[in-house]
Symmetry: C2
Subunit: 191 residues, 2 copies
DNA sequence: ATCTATCCTGAACCGTGGTTCACCTTTGTG
DNA sequence: CACAAAGGTGAACCACGGTTCAGGATAGAT
């Protein structure tokens, strides 16, 4: 059990700068930005990126984790408002809308959404988001607004198919088209 | 007005082979297959590809056009069944489902769908597909099944957001979630 | 102050994949 | 059959982007 020495001060500082710059760049230009650009934005050399994150995938995953955390916060806030008396379906709809809108600016969120379905990410944060969304759904079902079949996975499914790269009007329209599927009035469809 | 000489026999033959192989390869592995692989599948050298299609984009566009034509046929067939007495909403739903399922195998269709919203492609074929879908929608609206607001663009919007890369169950569920948005029972949503 | 483990640097490496081009082959006309 | 013109060939070119590594700098312990 060799006790690992504490990381050096500049290493910690750089790690933060890198994470910040990566978040910024990926948010602005999507996950396809070059490592060079991220390094430049962080005021650091490429090699330093690779000291902290063995591969680009790891770096992106770290950034994505931050976004997931943000979404989790959002969901929890919505849940609290419901407990305070607002209508669950409305909160869920608004939540969906907000996340989709956020996906447009923060293109990494889109990747995060797909990551939610695929790779684990932060177990805790993911759990937190899922729990809040699940509670939101349950509340809506208790109100009789949301269809009893609806699960958290449905929300993720919709979220992962959001038309992020389409104009605002299309995104709004998409939400309009998609929400009724969660609603009590909807009926199942055979394929 | 210099009359262009007719193309040579082997040129015509190769063009067909290329288009066939490209269609096959893109269908199987998506538009990201290398030009080398397409050339190999066609039993032809890379240079020949470039003689017929100045750029990879052009080749893909040509393949996509074929798929659009296939979708147009499908839509027209559905329309004819409606004229023969089947319910328009059911046909539209089934059509959506079929196209989504086709997108899974024929990954190029997905690209085609997005191309429909973006690049023109074959004006005629696109018109043909749009006309058939529009007629389908109108029929459904006449039945009182489909919401009066629904347009062809909505179908394209949904189609372009289909979860092509998710398991069959998820795709089916997606259809279930999405169709109610087209239905009379749905209500609009504010963002 | 010294010394070493840790960390940083950035030019170079490498695989990938679209594209080109100098040279050869085939077609089909005179 | 000869001989242009059209077409085909495929090795080489190039841009791009992730990754590496030998050498230099720095923190922090002694």
């Amino acid at each position: 059990m060799t006790q690992a020495r504490a990381p050096r001060a500049d290493a910690v500082r750089n790690r933060r700068k890198i994470l910040g710059a990566a978040s910024e760049q990926i948010t602005a230009h999507g996950p396809e930005v070059g490592m060079d650009e991220i390094a430049a934005a962080a005021g650091v050399a490429v090699g330093t990126l690779y000291r902290h994150f063995p591969t680009k995938t790891d770096l992106v995953a770290a950034v994505v984790a931050e976004f997931v955390a943000r979404v989790a916060d959002d969901a929890q806030a919505a849940l609290e408002r419901v407990t305070a008396g607002t209508r669950a379906l409305d909160e869920l709809t608004a939540f969906l809308g907000r996340v989709v809108e956020a996906s447009v600016t923060d293109r990494a969120v889109k990747a995060a959404a797909q990551a939610l379905g695929a790779e684990p990410g932060d177990r805790d944060t993911e759990e937190r988001a899922s729990a809040a969304v699940a509670a939101l759904i349950q509340a809506g079902q208790a109100d009789g607004d949301i269809h009893p079949d609806v699960t958290v996975n449905d929300i993720y499914l919709l979220f992962s198919t959001a038309p992020t790269d389409q104009p605002p009007a299309a995104r709004a329209r998409w939400l309009t088209l998609v929400v009724p599927g969660l609603t009590t009035r909807a009926r199942p469809v055979d394929i």
